[in-house]
Structures are given as structure tokens and as C-alpha cells.
């Protein structure tokens, strides 16, 4: 309802998401594909965190002397979980790439397709 210019933050993250998708599809090197996946996931996390922001707000820590509007703590918790998921997938993907390299000697997708 705020229009694209009002939600320019969201639009930037959508662009980032699509850049990540492009890298996954277009690049041949497996590590680059993995980096594209990370960019995609980071874009989603940034999108979710931004939705919890509030004008003039501060971190959601209500200690002594903390005042003012607080950012919503729920998106922070969500993306903490999301980041851990992304790290786990990256760890597994990296170990798969290590195994591919040990078995096939290359990590370029077009060379791998030819060798299959």
C-alpha cells in the first residue's frame, strides 16, 4: 500500500534475491552457485528483519533506562534461526563440493556434466 518508492528497502532485497538466483542458474563454478544461494538467503533474512523495524526505534532490549519504540523482536528470532539453517546448508554444500573435487577433479558444472 505504500508503493514501490516507500518500500524501497523491500525492493532492494527483491533485487538482491534475483541476483542470487541469477548466479545460481548462470554460473558454472559450484562455489559460485553456493555463493549465489547465500546471497538469496541473505536477501530473505534482510527482508524479514526490515519488516520488524520501526521509525526511531531501538533494539528490543528492555533493560533499565531503555525507552522509546522497540523494534519487534519476532523477526530477529526468525532470522537467527534462518541464519543457522543457511549456515548448515552451506556447510553441507561445501563438504559435497570437497567430495566432488576429490572424486572428479573439477568443480565446474559443465565439465562435470560432460564427465557423467
Amino acid at each position: 500500500m505504500a508503493g514501490l518508492w516507500g518500500n524501497i528497502d523491500y525492493a532492494a532485497f527483491v533485487v538482491l534475491f534475483c541476483i542470487g538466483l541469477y548466479i545460481i542458474i548462470a554460473k558454472q563454478n559450484l562455489i559460485k552457485k553456493l555463493l549465489g544461494l547465500n546471497i538469496m538467503e541473505t536477501a530473505v533474512f534482510a527482508f524479514i528483519v526490515t519488516s520488524g523495524m520501526v521509525d526511531g526505534g531501538t533494539a528490543p532490549i528492555v533493560g533499565a533506562g531503555a525507552t522509546g519504540p522497540f523494534a519487534s523482536p519476532l523477526p530477529h528470532a526468525l532470522i537467527l534461526t534462518g541464519i543457522v539453517v543457511a549456515v548448515s546448508i552451506t556447510a553441507l554444500a561445501l563438504s559435497l563440493i570437497i567430495e566432488i573435487y576429490r572424486q572428479c577433479g573439477t568443480i565446474e558444472a559443465d565439465e562435470l556434466k560432460g564427465a557423467e
Binding site: Y10, S51, L78, L80, L94
Partner: protein, 239 residues
């Protein structure tokens, strides 16, 4: 050519997404449903109900504890997954690696000295982040990652090919399961005390018990996370 085609397709796919986000409430609007619905109670009552002034920790470990349990399980699954993909009975020697993998990077003595010098401070900082995670920014995951990174640095300094691993493997496996174990323990305690799995006792005079349960969870997450990160690193390196 192919890359241009892919770029055009992705750009076309971006258009509906841009139209969609244009229709969302403006980020930062204090009247958006994000702030007026569930989060309003978290902000207003969270510190009192959960015992954690850091509301994010309150949400993670109290209101939405099942999500955090799932997250801890995913970290463990990452370790299990890497082990399932890479482990083999024969220990890999540096000569076994395919040419191109830099097996033994000699570490400069200056770097090694600095790491050894700063290691205790980093460890204290990591422990601080874990234990103070419920009143200031921080928490089990953050502290666990700091400790895990420290362990990785130390293993770089100590080099490869130790005759015996520093920790006996069974102990390492128990440490890596520390996160889910902490959740199981606190979850069962909550079940016994309040009748709901992963529940916390709600009375105002049980504030200390609530904080204690949160700290146990944070410690479990932190220690488990650090052990798992080290395990991942060592397995990928080929030990």
C-alpha cells in the same frame, strides 16, 4: 548469450515480486500489523513473563522455544550430514589430496603467537556473550560461534596430524549433542513443573528458576555449537 537469456528471465521473474512488495505496509510504520499484533505483547510483557530483558532471547527460548530446538537440531544435522558425506575409515594424509588442495599451510610464528596470546581473552568474551545473552545482545548461538571460531584458530596453530585427537571421540560426540540434551532436560523439567513441554514456571517468585533454565539452555546451545563448528572444520580439513 546463455547468461543474457538467464538474466532476462530472472528480471521478468523479479517484476511480480516487486509489485508484491510494493503492496506491503511501509517498514518502520508503527501501526503496521507487525507491531500491533503479536509483538505488542512481547514488548509489553516479555521481560516480566520470560525473565529475559533481551526480548529476542525471550522469544527464542521461551515463547518460540520449539523453533530454537529445531534450529539446534539443524546445526547437529549439519555435522551429521558432513560426517555422512566425508568420513571414511582411513585417515587422510596430506599426500592423498588431489593436486590443488593446499594441504599444509605453514602458519607464520607471528600469527601463531598472536593467536596464543589473545586466545584466553576471546574465550572469556565468548563465555560472556553466552551467559549475558538474556540481558544484553548476545546469546547461545552468538557465543557458541565465537568459541567455535577460537577453537578453529587454535587447531590451525596446533597443526594437522596429531597422534591422538585432543578430546577423545566419544566425549566430543556428547559435547556435540549438548544443545539437544539441554533442550531435552529443560523441556522435561518444564513438563514436570508446568504441564507443558518446554514451559517455564510462571510465578513471580520463580524468577530465579526461570533465569536458570534460560542459562542452561544458552550454555547447551553455546557449547554444542562450538563443538559442532570445530567438528565440521576438522572433518572438512580431512582429520
Amino acid at each position: 548469450m546463455r547468461q543474457a537469456l538467464v538474466a532476462i528471465t530472472v528480471a521478468i521473474a523479479a517484476v511480480p515480486m516487486l509489485l508484491a512488495v510494493a503492496g506491503l505496509p511501509r517498514p518502520g510504520d508503527a501501526q503496521a500489523p507487525v507491531h500491533t499484533h503479536v509483538a505488542a505483547r512481547y514488548v509489553a510483557e516479555g521481560a516480566r513473563e520470560t525473565g529475559a530483558e533481551n526480548l529476542v532471547t525471550g522469544v527464542l527460548l521461551n515463547y518460540r522455544a520449539l523453533d530454537t530446538f529445531g534450529e539446534v537440531m539443524i546445526i547437529f544435522t549439519a555435522l551429521a550430514a558432513v560426517m555422512a558425506v566425508l568420513s571414511s575409515a582411513a585417515p587422510r594424509r596430506p599426500e592423498d589430496d588431489a593436486p590443488g588442495i593446499a594441504s599444509a599451510i605453514p602458519i607464520s610464528p607471528v600469527v601463531a603467537f598472536i593467536i596464543r596470546l589473545t586466545a584466553p581473552f576471546i574465550a572469556v568474551f565468548g563465555a560472556f556473550v553466552i551467559l549475558k545473552g538474556h540481558v544484553s545482545p548476545g546469546g547461545g548461538f552468538q557465543g557458541g560461534v565465537i568459541l567455535g571460531a577460537l577453537l578453529m584458530l587454535l587447531s590451525l596453530v596446533l597443526g594437522r596430524g596429531l597422534e591422538r585427537p585432543l578430546l577423545p571421540v566419544p566425549l566430543a560426540r556428547w559435547l556435540q549433542a549438548a544443545g539437544p540434551l539441554a533442550f531435552a532436560a529443560v523441556g522435561m523439567l518444564g513438563l514436570a513443573l508446568t504441564g507443558a513441554l518446554l514451559g517455564y514456571p510462571a510465578g513471580p517468585d520463580q524468577q530465579l528458576l526461570r533465569e536458570l533454565m534460560v542459562i542452561v539452555l544458552e550454555l547447551g546451545i553455546g557449547i554444542g555449537g562450538a563443538a559442532i563448528i570445530l567438528g565440521l572444520f576438522l572433518e572438512m580439513r580431512g582429520d
